[in-house]
Symmetry: C2
Subunit: 145 residues, 2 copies
Amino acid sequence: MMSANSRLTIAAHILAWMELDRRGGREVVTSEQIAGSVNTNPVVIRRCLGDLRKAGFVEARRGAGAGWSLVRDPESISLFDVHQAVEQGPLFGMHHTPPNEGCPVGYGIQPALRRVYGGLEEAVRQQLAQTSVADVLRDVLAQQR
Amino acid sequence: MMSANSRLTIAAHILAWMELDRRGGREVVTSEQIAGSVNTNPVVIRRCLGDLRKAGFVEARRGAGAGWSLVRDPESISLFDVHQAVEQGPLFGMHHTPPNEGCPVGYGIQPALRRVYGGLEEAVRQQLAQTSVADVLRDVLAQQR
DNA sequence: GATCGTTATAACATGTACTGTTACATCCGG
DNA sequence: CCGGATGTAACAGTACATGTTATAACGATC
């Protein structure tokens, strides 16, 4: 069933939310406030924000009245960038245990599939690169009742 | 880490192996023989073959001297077909618990992302459709030392 | 410099999925 | 009827995602 994780979804949610808040005048927000919109535990949000900080999209201030703020224009952050920041690992897995190298298929199957999977991941990257966080927020706001 | 499963890999391995064996004159093979090349348990192979049978790519004979055989030309089976047969579920997951619908972002984020993810999965499907099992086998054989 | 609210992170619990394995019922050619 | 294989259920082990609690570190404000 693939059981895909929700990291890209959560990260996109966070960044869109932060930008909307920024437009409303709130430059600095806490993980607890974000958690209120995502509907999860603040620690989950901080874990994700930590990845986004390492990628240079947000920064954290500590101490009293601390919180997080966007440091890059959401127009310049593509979902490809976000994906790279919060998720790694291949779309499709290889054999758990190496195949039988004495068999022609067992010997050649992994290089052959690696080529296919590489092209696949490139296609995904290109698609992700076409949408920015700002695009997502535009679409989010267009959904309002 | 995404920890992608290996179902597409195993299915492609099985089909390529069956076609190679067919070319060598063996039309019917057992799950145990296939397991020897994939290097896993025959039950794992049978589970996968069951999916491939439901999709109409292979058939099973039972009783003594039983086994599996290809029923469709590998040239006509694309990795998209194989993927559909053995794997379902989205590439990227949505929120585990629904977001806060009282928040504009919480309300609109899922429809917005569904659109993005839909395009993404379509791109993957198109890429997978460009490679057939026969192509994979060609590439596998080209790897030989 | 002490306080307080927040980040940062470790540790643990829980749920779920994938893989591998054993066991056994079912089938059918010989 | 036998024997060898499929078809499936049940279970163990591993891995990972998510959620939760606890605690250390930090720094603005008083």
